[in-house]
């Protein structure tokens, strides 16, 4: 986990010694350090498979199955993200080496956040990563990016405040900031201070509601996604959320399963409302990026169901879903990224309006087919990646006897089908706008961007082969860490 930090420091040092170096150097360095990080993770997973959970650094760090799995997703998604900086057109933010240093700091922050049981270290990781992320968004250097960064920052600060309040109350109740200690103390005294527990839970829920963009705490999400660059938006829809999901899993699953009925109902409501409302908002968007933003909110709600259900299968489903979601969602945001224009033509109201994609099959057939595959995968059409995540998640709801929830999840997938289909309809069935040529869809493409999209597309199409090993690996890790 220290590897990205060392990498970040190295990048800054290089910049001090000799400034003005090209971004390719920094991309290469970041990628190298992420690779090393990934190697270290593989090593750690080998240790975990043999010895079980490892505690370290005064028992503050905890490397269990959840930590390892989520770090795989975090580092893997980051490795897919960082080459997206090598665009054809020049963008402001990538000319600063600080961008890459901040990026690596952020990754380290997320890694710390998931690899601990200690509420304080969670807080440190959360803040390290969030502060870096705010800056990264603002560096895109558009009016909307500043708006997005400030909005995200304000909301994030509020969430941090809520988080510290919640953690404080837990500490006051139990005299510990370790989640397992909190759990055992609360269980030992049979939740006698129920009132205080509820207050703490409300604070925590609000805090993570912001991070996970659960309705009604989601309001920042579409604006921030719209303001950030498409690549960054794709990144934000995956990595911060998986980190937050891990903390939520650690904290809430014991609470849900300890018979706090109230909490179960509240999370149930969160899940259903987040899925459904975000889907309905996504229906009426005119911009593809905002549509994808709402769709990410809806997917987060879908996955939140795993926390509610709380069985081993549900938790494994969360990881399976998110690993597959990484490929699909990062792929679709990258497709927007390669079609990023610097200047908007007259017929386009926003950067990625639906109109822009009209008739894409005739002008850029390959890109249209790939985009369609991502959309079908997001909609949950078999045999593409996300279908397997959906099946396993719905199945876990079925097995835990959440019959109505399973049906709601299925019907929400049907609603979501409409807006993904809308893009396909525009791409395949409308006539192209006069004067547009296929170049606009790949204007920003370079070999490295195409490679990333290729990876994402292959991961999406051939998920079928990967599902079984992935599932066995995830289930064994989740099971071994007692979730």
């Amino acid at each position: 986990m220290l590897i990205p930090i060392i990498g970040a420091l190295l990048i800054i040092t290089i910049d001090i010694i000799k400034g003005g170096l090209h971004k390719t150097l920094y991309v290469g360095l970041s990628l190298l350090f992420l690779l090393m990080d990934f190697g270290a993770l593989l090593d750690a997973s080998g240790v975990f498979a043999q010895n079980g959970t490892v505690m370290g650094v005064f028992d503050v760090m905890m490397i269990d199955g959840l930590a390892i799995l989520s770090q795989f997703i975090i580092v893997g998604a980051s490795m897919l993200f960082i080459p997206l900086a090598l665009t054809h057109k020049r963008f402001h933010e990538f000319s600063y080496p600080e961008f890459f240093a901040l990026f690596l700091f952020m990754i380290a922050g997320f890694q710390f956040m998931v690899a601990t049981d200690n509420l304080i270290l969670v807080f440190v990781g959360l803040e390290t990563s969030s502060l870096a992320l705010y800056t990264l968004i603002a560096m895109h250097n558009r009016d909307k990016s500043f708006e997005a960064a400030v909005k995200y920052f304000t909301m994030g600060a509020l969430a941090a405040g809520f988080y510290s309040f919640g953690a404080m109350i837990f500490y006051a109740l139990t005299g510990s900031v370790e989640i397992n200690q909190i759990a055992s103390v609360l269980t030992a005294n049979k939740f006698e201070d129920m009132g205080f527990v509820l207050v703490a839970v409300v604070f925590m829920l609000a805090s993570f509601g912001f991070k996970l963009s659960l309705v009604p705490f989601h309001t920042w999400a579409p604006d921030v996604y719209e303001g950030a660059s498409a690549a960054m938006a794709g990144f934000m829809s995956i990595v911060p959320k998986i980190a937050a999901f891990i903390v939520v899993m650690r904290l809430f699953e014991f609470l849900v399963n300890s018979g706090v009925v109230w909490l179960e109902i509240v999370i149930y409501a969160f899940v259903v409302v987040t899925m459904t409302a975000a889907n309905i908002w996504a229906l009426i968007q005119t911009d593809v990026k905002r549509m994808l933003a709402y769709s990410s909110v809806s997917h987060a709600g879908f996955v939140m169901a795993a926390v509610l259900i709380g069985t081993t299968q549900a938790n494994s489903a969360l990881f399976l879903y998110w690993a597959l979601f990484t490929f699909t969602n990062l792929g679709s945001f990258s497709m927007l990224w390669i079609s990023r224009q610097k200047h908007l033509p007259a017929y386009q109201s926003s950067d990625h309006s639906y109109d822009k994609f009209a008739g894409m099959i005739q002008t850029a057939p390959m890109a249209a087919v790939i985009m369609a595959v991502f959309m079908l995968s997001l909609a949950g059409i078999p045999p593409f990646a996300l279908f397997w995540g959906k099946v396993y998640m719905i199945s876990s709801a079925v097995n835990a006897d959440y019959k109505v929830l399973a049906l709601i999840m299925a019907l929400n997938s049907a609603i979501a089908g409409y807006y993904y289909l809308k893009l396909i309809v525009y791409m395949f069935m409308r006539e192209p706008i006069v004067g547009s040529n296929g170049h606009v869809y790949v204007a920003n493409a370079t070999l490295s961007l195409k490679t990333i999209i290729g990876f994402a597309a292959i991961g999406t199409i051939f998920a079928l082969i990967a599902v079984n090993p992935l599932l066995e690996f995830i289930t064994s890790f989740v099971h071994a860490s007692g979730f």
Binding site: I361, L376, A379, G380, I381, P382, P383, F387, W388, V391, Y392, I394, S395, V398, N399, K403, A406, L407, A410, L411, S413, A414, G417, Y418, L421, K422, I424, V425, F428, M429, R430, L464, V467, N468, L471, E472, T475
Partner: protein, 516 residues
């Protein structure tokens, strides 16, 4: 080679479709016809190698996909699915061969080849998830065909088609997951294999709920009243080839799935819902026949009559005895041939006049005698004239249901007469009388390409109408084993009574012979 013939049948068109991308634009039709012809030859070979005396699954294939979750790639055919697979490959072949000039012909042919993969896949799959994969995947090429080559309202029609079916099948997916869960509870292992599920005996309440979940998915696909509203739009807007494939094959997925899933898995629920579904089926037959009578557009007439006949198939399926189910399977094939041919015929006239309004025509029999002859033959087959293919299926279906209820069968029989009325009326308006419209004076008659598609269909229509045995026998054998399974699995007394016990009947028959 026989070991993997089903996989070859499924993936050969898709692979060929991928190669199709590199074929030059003007040569792609010949390529498409060649691929479809090879596929058809392979499916005929399947029939040749198929042992008609075996009632169970043949050519089984097994490959683990997600063994941790009990999902395996299992294929197999029995008499029920065999002929629908042949029908699918046949219609893709003549569909491509008779394709009239379309823009982006290459995309169309590649899409059709992919569609063929999903169609064969649905009918050959013996694992619920694999079935579901092909079932859902079949929506995508059809969406593209309707949406890209359709009429003015094509986008609305294609999206409606997709969303309707997608929503229904997601409910079915939840049902499948429940079924797998019950199987897991009963046996301790995960399995989505349909043959495993056959062995599971469920309590009646579970059966009812699961039956409803599956029913929603299938009923939308068939489409049964009141879920049928997407179909007239889809048919109205789709290009000829889209309507042909939709009517001939895609709708059969729903009725086939009833026989493959609902009946053997939930025999008690099937008996419980027999009369409600029969009533829906009869409403469907009568109501859509009346709607068809009111149509001005000949394609809509054919579309509604197609829904009406699907009602007879449902009725036969839910007769729950050998005659009814055999008849309904046979009628699926018959309906595929006849309604496919009718849509092709409508396409012929549409290509010439670019209108489908019957008021624009009149007296076509004088201008296009051959066209009128084939149309007349198919129309007679559609209304169920004896010695045509539809008659065999309809007769057996109704005979089967007659054993369950006399009144309802009588109603359905009356409805078939209504069918004859609107079809003959439409025929009269289009073909008889004097040529009133100047534009119709010089229409060319059926050309070679169209003959190529229509003659085989006409031959099949008459051949299987006169001598249905080669098809009927394998179907009958497989259906007998399904009905016997249903009888043994059923738990309620009513179900035991409604679903005949074939072994006992057979024994009774032999002992009666011995007594003589």
């Amino acid at each position: 080679m026989f070991d993997h013939i089903l996989s070859i049948l499924i993936f050969f068109p898709a692979l060929a479709g991928l190669f199709g991308f590199v074929i030059q634009k003007d040569s792609v039709r010949a390529y498409g016809v060649a691929v479809a012809a090879i596929e058809f030859a392979l499916s005929l070979w399947l029939w040749y190698a198929f042992d008609a005396n075996v009632s169970g699954m043949q050519f089984m294939e097994f490959l683990p996909l997600v063994p941790a979750f009990g999902i395996n790639y299992i294929l197999g055919v029995d008499g029920v699915s065999l002929f629908i697979i042949i029908l699918a490959s046949f219609f893709t072949m003549i569909g491509i061969a008779s394709l009239s000039d379309t823009k982006n012909e290459k995309n169309m042919i590649i899409t059709l080849l992919f569609l063929q993969m999903t169609m064969v896949g649905v009918f050959a799959a013996l694992d619920a998830i694999v079935f579901y994969i092909f079932w859902e995947l079949s929506l995508v090429p059809m969406l593209y065909i309707i949406g890209a080559w359709g009429g003015p309202l094509r986008i609305y029609a294609s999206v409606k088609f997709f969303l309707y079916t997608f929503a229904g099948s997601l409910v079915m997916l939840v049902g499948m997951l429940f079924m797998a869960y019950y199987f897991y509870q009963a046996t301790g292992t995960w399995s989505f294999a349909i043959l495993d599920w056959y062995r599971l005996i469920l309590p009646e309440t579970f059966q009812l709920w699961l039956f409803v979940a599956f029913f929603i998915g299938f009923a939308i696909k068939v489409p049964m009243f009141p879920f049928h509203t997407w179909l007239p739009y889809a048919h109205g807007q789709a290009p000829t080839i889209g309507s042909v494939i939709l009517a001939a094959i895609l709708l059969k997925m729903g009725t086939y799935a009833f026989i493959r899933f609902s009946l053997p898995m939930f025999p008690d629920a099937s008996v419980f819902f027999m009369f409600p579904i029969a009533v829906i089926a009869i409403i469907m037959i009568i109501y859509t026949a009346m709607v068809a009578y009111a149509q001005e557009d000949i394609k809509q007439v054919v579309a509604y009559s197609s829904i009406s006949h699907m009602g007879v198939i449902i009725l036969g399926t839910f007769a729950l005895n050998v005659e009814g189910i055999t008849g309904s399977v046979f009628l699926m094939i018959a309906h595929g041939v006849v309604s496919g041919a009718l849509f092709l015929l409508v396409g012929v006239i549409y290509d010439r006049r670019h209108t489908k309004m019957m008021s624009e025509f009149g007296g076509l029999a004088q201008v296009m005698p051959r066209y009128a002859t084939v149309f007349g033959l198919m129309l007679m087959a559609s209304v169920g004239l004896p010695l045509t293919i539809n008659f065999v299926g309809e007769f057996l279906s109704l005979l089967g249901f007659y054993k369950q209820s006399h009144i309802l069968t009588l109603l359905a029989g009356v409805a078939i007469i209504v069918g004859a009325i609107y079809m003959l009326a439409a025929y009269k308006r289009m073909f008889f009388g004097n040529v009133t419209n100047e534009k119709n004076k010089n229409l060319p008659d059926v050309n070679t390409r169209e003959w190529l598609a229509l003659i085989p269909l006409a031959i099949i229509t008459v051949w299987l109408g006169v001598y249905p045995k080669p098809v009927l026998e394998p179907i009958n054998n497989s259906v007998e084993s399904i009905v016997q399974l249903m009888h043994e699995k059923s738990i309620t007394a009513e179900a035991k009574e409604r679903i005949p016990n074939l072994i006992k009947d057979a024994e009774a028959a032999t002992s009666a012979q011995e007594a003589h």
